[in-house]
């Protein structure tokens, strides 16, 4: 049977790094094809190319043997429909209108509402989702919105349906329903590409699996001929060259951070402790709720329940807001440094000055010489290159920008440091330096909490690893003994593999 959709030798680079490297995938009618890989393996880029949102540097996308030009409209016309990972619905329009957004049936400019509602209802009936089509999206649950997204994709009568992590926000019952719905659609002849980290789902649903790693295709197999263990091995893949030399000897002291019963959007009742001189790693997949968890702990976002305490010099203080967290020596290196971390058009000195201004100028009047001296010291300490503290932060490369963000907090000698994806988008050299800094902090007795989707990094740094999934800690591993497969297994929803 001929392939409905075929991506041939697709290559796409972003500024020199190949996000997708010579990947070929083909899917037949009625087939459900899984594309799996770690965060950043290139899955989403590949799907964006298939759906015409991105253009490949080389290679072609064929639908039923015909090459399609690369535009979103061409892809849709050719029968490729993408269900976005992010929600692309209009909150204040009704379900029916969202299903037909941009293509309302009209006569003389007027929307044919009856017709639109009838079609929308038919589409929803087809996928078996009962929802009031006159309800506005903003009043629907996240799960229901996900189903409306799918209805919207189905309404275009596609030949190929691409779903990117569709179950991320669904309960088990809803996930169950979604999977059986996709099985039904495939039986009717739809080709489905299913992107997921969740191995059990892949094994229940899919016929074939393609594994990407670092942009390259590393493994293709029929599901029947492989095992979950094999898939996880291939996802992680790289030679385990865990350098034991690079691990430090942890001597954890007293508990510095204790968080109990934390609840927040995306976080479901988590307890967490971090001791002085200890690096605790939070592993898991993108969207597992790790960022939400740490932001709720330090008060950067609102939490709905829970207590957080910081103990410094034997004094136990409650953290009720981000300001109180800062007063008690919490330092936060956020995930999105361009948005949360740095004022890009301010100088390095100014960026470093921001969190330290009360220390450096108790009277409120800035002493530029002092500010510059401190900035210079910190720039040297983190190895900023070039160490020109008058330069705008935005003129530095990603790795150096991250060093500036870390430098901001070093002056205060924080008691508890939280780093969210500290080396994302950072070159190898800067990565090693950032790792050195983090270890140095812990050696000096600071309590450190690191969120990382980069498994080798997590394993190298952490003394204890908590793996988070669906806003909960699914398992806790000893950092010295854990391996990538165990972390990935927990993160992807497999049982803990016996080591």
């Amino acid at each position: 049977m001929a392939a409905v959709v075929e991506a041939k030798n697709i290559t796409k680079a972003f500024g020199g790094v190949k996000a997708v490297d010579d990947v070929t995938v083909s899917v037949e009618a009625g087939e459900i094809h899984a594309v799996v890989g770690e965060n950043g393996a290139g899955k989403s880029t590949l799907m964006r190319i298939l759906s015409g949102i991105e253009f490949p540097d080389s290679g072609q996308v064929m639908v039923e043997g015909k090459e399609i030009e690369n535009s979103a409209k061409d892809s849709i016309d050719a029968g490729i429909s993408l269900v976005h990972q992010e929600l692309s619905l209009v909150p204040e329009m009704t379900v029916a209108e969202n299903i037909y957004l941009g293509g309302f049936p009209t006569s003389a400019g007027f929307t044919k509402r009856k017709e639109m509602k009838k079609f929308a209802q038919e589409t929803l009936d087809e996928i078996g989702v009962q929802v009031d089509i006159d309800e506005r999206i903003s009043r629907l649950s996240v799960a229901l919105r996900q189903f409306v997204e799918i209805a919207r994709a189905i309404a275009r009568k596609p030949k190929v349906l691409i779903l990117d992590e569709p179950t991320a926000s669904l309960t088990p019952a809803e996930t169950d329903y979604l999977l059986s719905m996709l099985e039904r659609l495939a039986k009717q002849g739809l080709a489905i590409i299913y992107i997921s980290h969740r191995i059990p789902e892949v094994f229940r649903l899919c016929h074939n699996v393609t594994i990407l790693r670092d942009g390259k295709l590393v493994y293709v197999s029929e599901i029947k001929k492989t095992t979950p263990q094999e898939v996880i091995n291939q996802m992680v893949g790289r030679e385990l060259k865990l350098d034991l030399e690079s691990r430090r000897d942890a001597k954890p002291g007293d508990v510095v951070l204790s968080a109990v019963g934390i609840k927040a959007p995306g976080v479901n009742d988590v307890d967490l402790e971090v001791r002085a001189g200890e690096i605790v790693g939070l592993g898991g997949l993108v969207g597992a709720g790790r960022t939400e968890l740490i932001r709720a702990i330090i008060g950067a976002d609102n939490k709905t329940a829970g207590n957080v305490h910081i103990t410094v010099d034997g004094k136990r203080q409650q953290i009720t807001s981000y300001m109180s967290a800062m007063r008690n020596g919490v330092a936060y290196v956020p995930e999105e440094r361009r948005v949360d971390g740095l004022a890009m058009t301010m100088s390095v000195t100014d960026n470093v000055y921001l969190p330290n201004r009360k220390d450096l100028a108790a009277s409120g009047v800035i002493n530029p010489a002092k500010a510059a001296k401190v900035a210079k010291e910190l720039a040297d300490r983190v190895g900023l290159r070039p160490p020109e503290i008058k330069r705008e932060a935005g003129q530095y490369s990603g790795g150096n920008q991250q060093k500036i963000v870390i430098a901001k907090w070093l002056h205060k000698r924080p008691s508890f440091v939280v780093l969210d994806e500290p080396t994302r988008g950072v070159d190898v050299g800067a990565k090693a330096e950032i790792h050195r800094l983090v270890k140095e902090l812990a050696d000096q007795g600071t309590a450190v909490l690191v969120v990382s989707s980069d498994l080798p990094e997590l394993l190298e740094l952490s003394d204890v690893i908590h793996v988070v999934r669906d806003g909960k800690i699914m398992g806790t591993l000893d950092g010295a003994k854990a391996d990538e497969k165990q972390v990935m297994g927990l993160a992807a929803g497999e049982k803990l593999v016996e080591a």
Partner: protein
Amino acid sequence: MTQQDTIQLGGGELSLWGKIKLTIARRTEGRGVALLAIILTVALLTEPLVFTAYQVTLGRIALIGLVALGLTAVILMGQLDLSVASTLAASGVVLAIIPDLTLGIIAALLTGLLVGAINAFGVAIIGINSFIWTLGMLFFLRGVALVISNEAPVKLTNADAGIAFGQPLIGPITPRILIFILVFIAIQVFVSRVKMGREFYAVGGNPQAAKDAGIPVKRRIFTGFMISGFVSALAGVINTLERTAADPIAGSTVLLASFAAAIIGGNYLKGGRGSIVGTLIGAGALGVLQVTLTLSGVQVPVQQIFIGLVLLLAVTTDPNNLRAVLSSIRSARSSRVKVQKPASEPNKSTAS
């Protein structure tokens, strides 16, 4: 296959009361209705004349409401048009300085369309914040009105036509009220039934999604600003005809009142949420308020204070903003509430 065939997520059969509650929850006009109810009650108790002299009241609502209706089209897309009052003044003067009435009306309305197009150009093409760009337009047009009127009110050449225009057509319905009702119906139908108008909500609510779905966002912005410009010009024409003269500095309270009407009527300033009906309700509330105050013999400054307060209240009590404020208060408080767990239990989640 043993799997269930459908999945029900929310919804389901509702009792009558449930349906009523659902309908209320779906609407955005809540604050406007509440304000209208309060004002009507107070008016009923203190100045029942407001209801006997309903022609005056209706006329006042039409005066405030007309500009607000056009403005709503722009606000739905998350933009603002601060130039509405100056457009009203300038187009009124344009009408008065042209001797031929028909030609004058056409020229005045074209002025409004042109202003709308220039506003949209700055916002959609150059990419300037609509508050600042239309604020510039506000002052520019005030200058234009002063220049073409020689800085003095201009008498309408055909004053008889103006006087005739002010007379009621049927019952209490003057042409102004009739035009207001027609414009209300036209814009209401436009944003609720016409494809282009419905898409305003998409442009304001999720611009990226709108673009991805193939909606020409920039063209919609042009349409919205031109509606606003045209309706403001129409209000200017009506004012000039009714007063048989054009005042180049007319409409200073129109700006305030029309924004107050649109915002208290539930139109979200960041776009995507609101309704024309809400604007109507808001205009109704403000109109009754003004007439009540006038009839009570309250001075003009007091009226300004009241309308200003309504606008301040409207813009600070937007449900979305309030929710964020309340949630941060709740979060700070939640920390102080004891959790149902032993708070000090070492080694609980740390594996060792």
